[in-house]
């Protein structure tokens, strides 16, 4: 456990009261800008989360730090209560990603909960691009993400899932819920993307994802002068093994992208291309590839 942040902020709380057997992991980082560089300041990381150190992978973009959010538990389990919190001070820049996909195991009717809080001050940049959730039979996951953006800030969010039965018996997951809300600095709701779907819904003949295997949602939010052109985003839709719908989000918040892919390779390619576009638009320089 790394702890330089002893108390959770009073402004948020876990989704539900902790159960006796529930694991309550916290991954809380605060970044600030000093000169040309971003520094990691306050931090609190506890099981099952793990973090080595932030990496300055982009020599041409010294203000951009990269952090791999790692887990030492082997995935998400029933009744997990995991919270992440990212605070970026004015002009700070960070990329939070994972090393690999996260397996959600059979939760026996007790969903794993993940809550993410994001606060971006003026001109901050944050990309939160975890690898997909892999929903095993009986998996149940509920995630909530709340973000608040000050003027000039840019936020890239990605959220993806796929299903897998390790025994090859085509058993489906239980439920998946995701609730993302984006607000401006004054607290005005700009965008809310709220879904809940069951494995049976996905597996049935009238599936809202058709015959596609990997579902990805992206939001690229914030200052329009630091976002890619819509044409560049639409151009992502040139792969045979994935389809992408690009749309302007409500309230001039930015762009939303829905992506359905035939496999994880295609989904990852779309995600990586979008990250490159986002960084290039915000900093004027292409990022180096993130090693996984």
């Amino acid at each position: 456990m790394t702890s330089h942040w002893p108390q959770p902020p009073a402004t948020y709380a876990l989704v539900q009261p902790r159960q006796a057997e529930a694991r309550c992991g916290r991954f809380e980082l605060a970044f600030s800008r000093h000169g040309a560089r971003t520094h990691l300041g306050r931090q609190f990381v506890c099981y099952p989360f793990h973090m080595t150190r932030p990496f300055a992978l982009d020599r041409a973009i010294p203000s951009l730090l990269t952090v791999y959010q790692q887990s030492s538990s082997g995935g998400l389990y029933r009744d997990d209560r995991l919270t992440s919190r990212y605070e970026l001070g004015a002009g700070a820049a960070a990329h939070i990603t994972t090393q690999a996909a996260t397996v959600v195991h059979d939760c026996h009717g007790q969903p794993a909960h993940q809550v993410t809080e994001i606060v971006l001050e003026e001109n901050a940049f944050l990309a939160v691009t975890p690898d997909p959730l892999v929903l095993f039979p009986g998996a149940s996951s509920s995630s909530t993400l709340r973000a608040r953006l000050a003027p000039g800030a840019v936020l890239l969010l990605s959220d993806a899932f796929t299903c897998h039965d390790p025994e090859g018996r085509l058993r489906s997951f239980d439920r998946l819920g995701s609730d993302v809300s984006i607000r401006d600095a004054a607290g005005r709701l700009l965008v809310r993307d709220n879904l809940e779907v069951s494995g049976a819904d996905i597996a049935g003949p009238a599936s809202p994802i058709g015959g596609w295997k990997v579902v990805s949602n992206f939001m690229l939010l914030g200052d329009p002068t630091r976002l890619p052109a819509a044409e560049a985003l639409v151009a992502l839709n040139d792969m045979a093994s994935a389809i992408v719908g690009v749309s302007a989000l409500a309230n001039g918040a930015g762009f939303g992208l829905r992506c359905l892919a035939a496999d994880a390779i295609a989904a990852r390619s779309i995600g990586e291309s979008l990250f490159e576009l986002a960084v290039a638009a915000a900093f004027g320089i292409q990022p180096v590839p993130r090693r996984k």
Binding site: N194, E196, A206
Partner: protein, 227 residues
């Protein structure tokens, strides 16, 4: 749901496809999903309708309609709900379609003298309200004295009927097949409509394939419908 003859007749009038609601210009992604089938995957009208009922209307449009209905003509509260619908509609084509459809319905009811319609139309015009279809439906059908369950039934029926009409106009199915599909969809509307709606319940939807179709439709050339 037990209706008096008077309320049944009012419900029939407002559910009727002849009622000038402006919905004829919108296909809610049906045109795009069918015309882009080579890229998106096989299109089946009955499956499309089922997805729209269970994964969009049931937990998004219906919830907005019920919440609007319960606001009982409180126009400021309706405008706030309208903003929530705006923020919760991911794809621009569906968002704009819902606003245009709602505004058309509002205009008709303004001319018919339905209570609150003209005042809310003014709020839409001056930018203090969005005028989304489900919110307007809740406003005007409550003002007509219909009960909540009937309003929900009309909303569900109109959604399916407009899809069936669009499918016939696009030549995807014939008129008889359209009626057969609607008959199969009615139990799904009833089932979705029977689920209680909590006060302040959030709007939820999950129709990524349709949303991608609408987004791609927005950059395509020839088309019959706005979305």
């Amino acid at each position: 749901m037990s209706l008096s003859a008077t309320n049944l007749l009012v419900a029939l009038q407002h559910a009727d496809g002849q009622f000038p609601s402006g919905g004829f210009a919108f296909s809610q992604g049906l045109e795009a999903s069918s015309s882009l089938a080579d890229r998106l995957g096989a299109f089946d009208f009955a499956d499309f309708v089922d997805i729209q009922i269970r994964h969009r209307w049931a937990d998004a449009d219906r919830v907005a309609l019920v919440r609007a209905f319960r606001l009982a003509g409180d126009l400021d509260a309706l405008a706030e709900l309208d903003s929530e619908v705006e923020a919760s509609t991911f794809v621009e084509g569906l968002r704009l379609g819902s606003r245009r459809n709602g505004t058309a319905l509002l205009t008709t009811h303004g001319r018919l003298g339905t209570k609150g319609a003209t005042a809310y139309r003014g709020m839409v015009r001056n930018g203090s309200a969005c005028g989304h279809l489900a919110v307007v439906q809740g406003l005007v059908w409550q003002a007509l004295g219909l009960d909540e369950a009937t309003a929900v039934a009309i909303g569900g029926y109109q959604m399916v009927a407009s899809l069936a009409t669009a499918a016939v106009r696009l030549g995807l199915i014939g008129a008889i097949d359209a009626q057969a599909s609607m008959a199969r969809a009615l139990p799904a509307i009833e089932a979705a409509g029977s689920r209680p709606v909590a006060d302040g319940e959030a709007l939820r939807s999950f129709t990524p394939l349709c949303e991608i179709a609408v987004a791609m439709h927005g950059v395509s050339g020839q088309r019959l419908f706005s979305n």
